[in-house]
Amino acid sequence: MLSKSQARAFFLGGTFLFSAIFVFLTIDSIRQNDARTNAQNLTEDVLKGKEIWEKNNCMGCHTLLGEGAYYAPDLTKVVERRGVSWIDVFLDDPQAMFPGERKMVKYNFTKEEKGQVIAFLDWVGKIDANGWPPKPNIPVDSIAIAVSPQTSTNIVKVSQPEKFSQLCVACHAVGGKGGNVGPTLDHVGSKFDADYLNRWLIDPQVIKPGTNMPKLPLSDTERKDIVTYLSALK
């Protein structure tokens, strides 16, 4: 049977050996770190963005590289997923973009600060994280789902304007693709005329007080393009 001194030797020996291996692997990890994390892209903006991220304890709700509080979405690939302009609009007033949903603090970032946060998240998204997060691997069509008539795609001759695919699709779906916070827009062109859609986009609150639709920062041309596109969705 094991004696007390043998037990002690097991404890001390094991601790020493595995600590040594751990330190060795740490040195090697640090050696590879610059390449794996694209350290050459750590610009001034990225570093400022990290400071803003930490100063406001964003990880107290969000997760990043899977670490955080699980209360708000993981932001590892958010720039790839949502695009820069959407995040830029979102940060101005998060609750307006997800009305009635889980709340996020409105931080009143300046244009510059928003750019820095986005730069930081963009850099994080490009870290070699051994393939994480993995792509969903259960195909949706392997599961029985009710086919909604509204998602039937209609032939649209006008192509989707850039701003539409950056902002609108976060909440609205067209042809089954997009968010489900707002109604699907598949047949919006047959419901409303161009003039109404135009006035609606200028300020939704004027047309329908209390609506969940936020007032989006669109230039005249961008708005015109979107109205043309929406009118074609018959």
Binding site: A7, F11, N33, G66, G68, R102
Partner: protein, 449 residues
């Protein structure tokens, strides 16, 4: 209580009770926010509640460890504490730093690194404080005539916990390195040196409560903490799978995490075996419940539930979901919270001379809080697994999935209520014991050693 200076432990335990109550309050704020009732959003947003909830946990457990050390070390060293005055100064400054940190969180003053949110200037104060504590303990041991393994393992654990706080204070520009060294603190604490502290405290309690020969208990203490370090040090790798570190961590982390339950299994077998070998019954059954309960629950929560999602092929889906929160709750409860409650249950009758363990409320406290915690863990488990399937495997939107699991959070809140009932019983008993008194000096209720 053998020595007058052990009384200082009472004030650490009382602080524990206060901080634990606050932690529960913040837990409820988060639970309600998750079912859409976040009326406090403008005053206490979720990130504030979250930072407060987890930091209070860390602080109350550390306070409990300090109290346990102040109680155990004099008895193991067979002499008074080196300086009672220093212990009080240390407690007061510890509480002051804690209060400033918690209040600061409500004014956006923090470091924004999960579990290590305390701002840098306060970190330095924590270091000074912990060094004061260690100095006091070290001098007590140094000037003692008696050396015991329990005493040394406990001290070594506390010392390493203090040293490992330092890597968390280095600033890194690079998120990957930042995260890498943050785990040196967080993982190597809870799955490393805290287990050493746990082993030391458990050994002390087993010696007192079962009366089994010290040599036997301490031999197994070495084996258990040996297993802890054997698996736990390289087990840190399970935090390094997806943060930008080399691929070999998948293998290293996977294998050694799979071994981690062994340490906890060892702990449970050890405690139960010592109980089986006991000479006669110790009258303080409640303390025994918490002691054995801690050994068993730590195996389920920290060992088994940890094992359930640290294998890389599983972890790639569960990483960053409520599955982690599920494991976290039962792990901390079983391994550390129950252990601190065990020390308090054992020490209170000795310090005050009041044998409240004969009543019913101690059992109610034990069962209500344990069933409540298992309920919370179950609710989080169902929510977490649902989240993994809908969000990760099927690719549904985060917020849509969160709405699907609201129901489980109602279940969690109900279980949390039962848990709170249990803790309330515990705290009421704590208060009923009254203050430590000199009349209790020299007699330990029913000790078998």
């Amino acid at each position: 209580m053998r020595f007058q200076s052990q009384k200082v432990a009472y004030w650490f335990f009382a602080t524990c009770m206060l901080l634990l109550s606050l932690q529960i309050v913040y837990g409820f704020i988060m639970g309600f926010a998750r079912i859409g009732m976040d009326g406090l959003h403008d005053y206490i947003p979720f990130n504030t509640a979250r930072a407060t909830h987890t930091n209070l946990l860390v602080v109350w457990l550390l306070t409990g460890f300090m109290g346990a050390a102040y109680y155990i070390i004099p008895e193991e060293s067979d002499r008074e504490l080196y300086s009672v005055k220093l212990a009080y100064i240390q407690l007061i400054s510890w509480v002051v730093v804690g209060v400033i940190a918690i209040v600061g969180f409500h004014f956006n003053w923090w470091e924004g690194r999960k579990f290590l949110e305390i701002p840098r200037p306060l970190d330095y104060l924590v270091v000074v404080n912990v060094l004061t504590f260690l100095f006091n303990i070290a001098m007590t041991i140094w000037e003692a005539k008696k050396r015991s393994t329990t005493q040394l393992v406990l001290f070594f654990g506390l010392l390493c916990a203090a040293l490992l706080y330092l890597p968390g204070m280095i600033y890194f520009d690079n998120q990957t390195l930042d995260s890498y060294f943050r785990w040196w603190v967080v993982h190597l604490w809870v799955e490393g040196v805290w287990e050493l502290i746990m082993g030391g405290i458990l050994a002390f309690l087993l010696i007192k409560l079962t009366g089994v020969d010290r040599e036997v208990i301490e031999k197994w203490l070495y084996v258990v903490v040996g297993l802890t370090f054997l698996s736990g040090i390289l087990g840190t790798g399970h935090h390094y799978y997806w943060i930008g570190t080399p691929k070999y961590w998948l293998m290293v982390g996977g294998i050694f995490s799979a071994l981690e339950p062994l340490a906890f299994l060892g702990m449970a077998i050890w405690a139960l075996n010592m109980y089986r070998k006991k000479g006669k019954d110790h009258p303080n059954k409640i303390a025994l419940y918490w002691t054995l309960g801690s050994a068993i629950m730590s195996f389920i929560g920290a060992g088994f539930l940890g094992f359930a999602h640290t294998w890389p092929a599983v972890n790639q889906w569960t990483h960053g979901t409520l599955v982690t929160a599920m494991h976290g709750h039962l792990a901390f409860w079983g391994a550390y919270a129950m252990l601190v409650l065990a020390v308090i249950s054992y020490a209170m009758p000795n310090m005050t001379g009041r044998k409240l363990f004969t009543g019913m409320s101690g059992y109610l406290a034990f069962w209500a809080s344990n069933v409540g915690m298992l309920g919370m863990t179950g609710a989080l488990a169902v929510a977490g697994i649902t989240q993994v399937y809908l969000e990760r495997k099927l690719g549904m939107d985060f917020l849509v999935v969160q709405k699907e699991i609201v129901f489980h959070f109602i279940g969690m809140l109900l279980a949390a209520t039962l848990f709170t009932v249990g803790i309330t019983y515990f705290i009421v008993d704590f208060i009923r014991h009254g203050l430590p008194s000199n009349e209790a000096l020299g007699k330990n209720v029913g000790d078998l050693d």
